[in-house]
Point group: C3
Chain length 201, copies 3
């Protein structure tokens, strides 16, 4: 079950990568590269930090899912005129899926709870940061709407829910939905944390 959610998250983020790279006139190879970085970057950093085997190296399925999703999105996006901000929706879905699978993987590994929640955030946001840096855009995580905050809150909710009597699958569903809803609301209503006031020197 968690395996197929992982595959879905990888495919979703690869599609978001192609949709953003598509606004930049990259060639096909550049776009595939961006899609792979977006789809595999967060989980790769998590696995390196936990000294686990990197998830897509031993199992080609992830790589094939990312490549197929990138290709399919490429051809659909060439045929249709798509709105510029469309990649925000698969990005929000991928954020929710990756944060939950990342937190769970760190918990299973035995990480302390604060580290486990941060691993969830890393798994969720790093792929998108790589994508934005490669596309030379300011990372979404820094654009002032709830992003890492939504992921961190969801990861903590996922860790807390079993202590409130929820089963493992209900906890995952609850926390994942919370991340997705908070993130979509943040995009729609421009919600954010207070910003630091810049000081005069």
């Amino acid at each position: 079950m968690i395996y197929w959610i992982g595959i879905a998250a990888v495919a979703t983020m690869a599609a978001a990568g192609v949709l953003e790279a598509g606004t930049k006139r990259f060639d096909l190879a550049g776009m595939v590269f961006v899609a792979l970085a977006a789809a595999l970057g967060g989980g790769t950093l998590r696995d390196l930090l936990l000294a686990r085997p990197v998830f897509w190296v031993a199992d080609q399925t992830y790589l094939i899912a990312a490549l197929l999703a990138a290709m399919a999105t490429f051809f659909v996006a060439r045929a249709l005129v798509l709105p510029l901000g469309l990649f925000l929706i698969p990005d929000a879905l991928g954020l929710a899926l990756f944060t939950i699978t990342g937190t769970k993987a760190a918990m299973v590994w035995g990480a302390p709870w604060l580290v486990a929640s941060l691993m969830g955030v890393i798994t969720g946001v790093v792929g998108g940061i790589l994508r934005d840096v490669l596309c030379n855009e300011e990372p979404l995580v820094f654009r002032g709407q709830l992003y890492a905050t939504a992921a961190w809150g969801g990861a903590l909710l996922y860790l807390a829910a079993p202590h409130l009597g929820f089963g493992p699958e209900t906890s995952a569903l609850l926390a994942g939905s919370a991340i997705l809803l908070v993130r979509l609301a943040a995009i729609r209503f421009d919600l954010g944390l207070p910003r630091f006031r810049a000081k005069a020197g």
Copy 2:
């Protein structure tokens, strides 16, 4: 002893991260992310390269120290008007502390001396590079004042001092102070290595 120096270095670099991010109008989550990257980035890369367990994954203390230092700096910096270049001082201190702990860790691991000195430099400079890249500033290490050079010189001094009859703690103190003093002098008097002359094509 080396453990508490490591904690102090992490807290120092987290504070420097907040002070630089504070000039950029990041929100709280973005600032915490920059502070964690600055505080943990160099040691993380060192541990990955040496195939050691990543220092902050098994022991939450580092993470908590970085978060507390970031929060404290955030609230102090909101209350006071601070000079823009203030982060240079904790940055110089963090550079000295991290270079020494990084070199020592690589030596204990059994790395050859040239590799050990480079690990010290990586531990010292990579956190600051990540911070500057995330803040979209040209990295300090490339701004032409002695920075990586000060760290490398200090790391080599730290490796050489025991052969000149100094004890391990005196060597660390000597080399760390040398890095801090050279770096502060480089900022104050704008010292640098000769630059490459750009050629006409």
Copy 3:
């Protein structure tokens, strides 16, 4: 044999790093840092992903080769007036050498063929991406001429050739030459894949 090709690739990429950094007025320390990132970055990421010991950490020879090549290039480039695009030639040679050694290392490790070919591409292109990002240039891999595509094609050719009856050394020579020739032709005749058409929102 593959060992000395690896050393040659490291030296070649370090020289390309110095030649590009030389157009940016970096100081000596910055240039050495860029050269090391260019020379060691791709192989380092490959080794981390495969959970192998990082190639230059246990064996100082690579580090010394990169430093010597960087220094020699620095002094030659100061004495002569070199054309601006000169680094493209050692870069193409390094791409070919690294792609073959990276694919071979992943195959020996037992990676599935699609992963092995991608490891070759990563070994080939990541050092150059790091160099370009540190020099604040758009990465060559995204500039629209065949680059990652040439590396990927060569890696697949290298994996396929033994099944067509070629010996291991002939396969390596064949695939490496193909990468070098395609890349040089792409530079000379401005060959590229079709680009994504940007859409109006």
